[in-house]
């Protein structure tokens, strides 16, 4: 006998899990968007620090 497709319960449960995952994605996205300026600032300051280290090199050591 050919079994029919998954029951409605399967679809409902998967839909609920999908909604949970979507909520997690939305929350993560919100946190990332809120954190982007700080992250950007951190990256810029880190790059500046590296480049400052390079430019402030004591060339006399050469």
């Amino acid at each position: 006998m050919t079994a029919p497709g998954p029951t409605t319960a399967y679809h409902v449960h998967r839909a609920v899990l999908t909604v949970i995952v979507l909520i997690i994605i939305l929350l993560t996205s919100y946190l990332v968007v809120r954190g982007i300026p700080s992250l950007r600032q951190w990256v810029i300051s880190a790059i500046d620090a590296v480049q400052d280290e390079w430019t402030s090199w004591d060339w006399r050591l050469l």
Binding site: Y10, V21, I24, V50
Partner: protein, 539 residues
Amino acid sequence: MPYLIGFTFALAAIYVAIWLTVAAVMLFVIPAFLIMLPVGLLSGVLWGCTVPIVTLTGYSRWQPRTITAQDVKQGTSNLPRLRGDNPFGRDPAWPSYLVAQSRVDLSEIWHRTVGTLGKGWRKCRDIGDGWDNPVGWVVVVVGLVPVYLTVSVGALAAVVAILLICGAALLVVTASWLLVVGVLRSGDYLVRRLRGASGSCPLCYHVSSLPAFPCAQCQQVHRDIRPGLLGAVWRRCICGARLPTTVLRAAFQLQTSCPNCLAPLRSGAAVHRDIRLPVFGPVSAGKTRLVYAGLRALREQAATASASVEFTDEQSKQAFDQGDEIVRDGGDTTKTPAGQLPTAITAQITTTRRKALLHLFDAAGEFYIDRSDNSELLFLDHAQGLVFVVDPFSIPWVQDQLGGSGQIMLVRANAAVDKPDAVYRVTAGRLRDYGVRTSSQRLAIAVTKADLLVKLPLARNLHPHRVKEWLLAAEMDNLVLAAERDFAEVKYFLVASVHSTRAADPMSPANPFAWLIARAGLQLFPDEPNPTKQAEEAV
């Protein structure tokens, strides 16, 4: 000198190369990493969130394996193994999502994520292998690996977080679901237990508290319809039909079947109290007549007590109608075919508070003569009480008292040939051999053909309430002693299985049945002593 100049130039070249490398690292590589690593991490998180969505929505080839009813039937559903030795396996129904498919889905999300990340790592290795010199590996190790590592960490962290949260949500839902299953299952069990409900097969005599239910649509048999892994409130059959889960609900919506031979059970089986009463005795003792006359009298007597005795199946109704007509017309009942196992005659008894199914088993007397013939009478093993039919005209003392002129009476009474105590011995021995605890059963000894007997001088001391004394006087003391030794309770009845016997008559053929029915827990008539009530009063 040229060597010295050459060495100096080489040193200067190495110095410049190192200086250029350090400059490149400080000015480009480190800033590039500082930008790429967070971007890689976020890309990984994005990937870790995409995989579950794609898997759960069943997109394209990423659809997880579906645990179907076919898997359940074939034992490939990952459900726990059935306890005990069950040759039939699980029923052909879809499992609950929470107990089978959810694990497959979550597992698929994890494996899909790990699999795609693994593919990426293999790609990195292929890129390194694609170069003919070590520079390629330097590029891969310095450039690709750190970035892809952050992607992998981000993806795995996101998937682990999602799996943990989804797993926790599923656990909460599963706990609630288990609560519903437990409440429904125990409620179903308790109600049936309190009612004393069970399903007895009218054909193979198998008794089970858990009948089988063929699906109304595809006829696939569901042997354990109770709430469980295949559904809490409803279950989905392999054909897609929705079936109720509790026995009480299923019995009203589906055909109840015997789990042993799959024959249809009587309507109300496994829902109402089940009372099984075999009638045994020698050939021509009046068993069949007692059954029909008794049912007829029970119906009449029940009607006066705001109760009813009805036949819910066509077979029992036809059998009763035929027997009732014979009793009404005063004719002789047909001889029960020897060697043919009887089909139960089932009546539904309804009182103001309760319902019960009464099954009467009337096998041919030949079965009770020889020990080897009655091994198939399995209905004797599951009876709550038995009716032993004694033909007074087969008692040697009665025959002696009648003398030579009594032959006419013996012919008129169609006296049984076999002696009552011999037949009793054979049947009691059979019960003992099959491990039946007769010490907890009741026996009604019905002395039949009272309409003829009471007219004779030898029965002048015979009264409906003094049957035992009369039997002792008739030298049936062996029978009386053996019966009272073997059974928990024995009661003696004088019965006239004729139409003229009134419903409430002391010689009514309903009396042995009414007493056993009351002892089985259904008080049919108010004047019948209620053992439960008596016990309560004694306390």
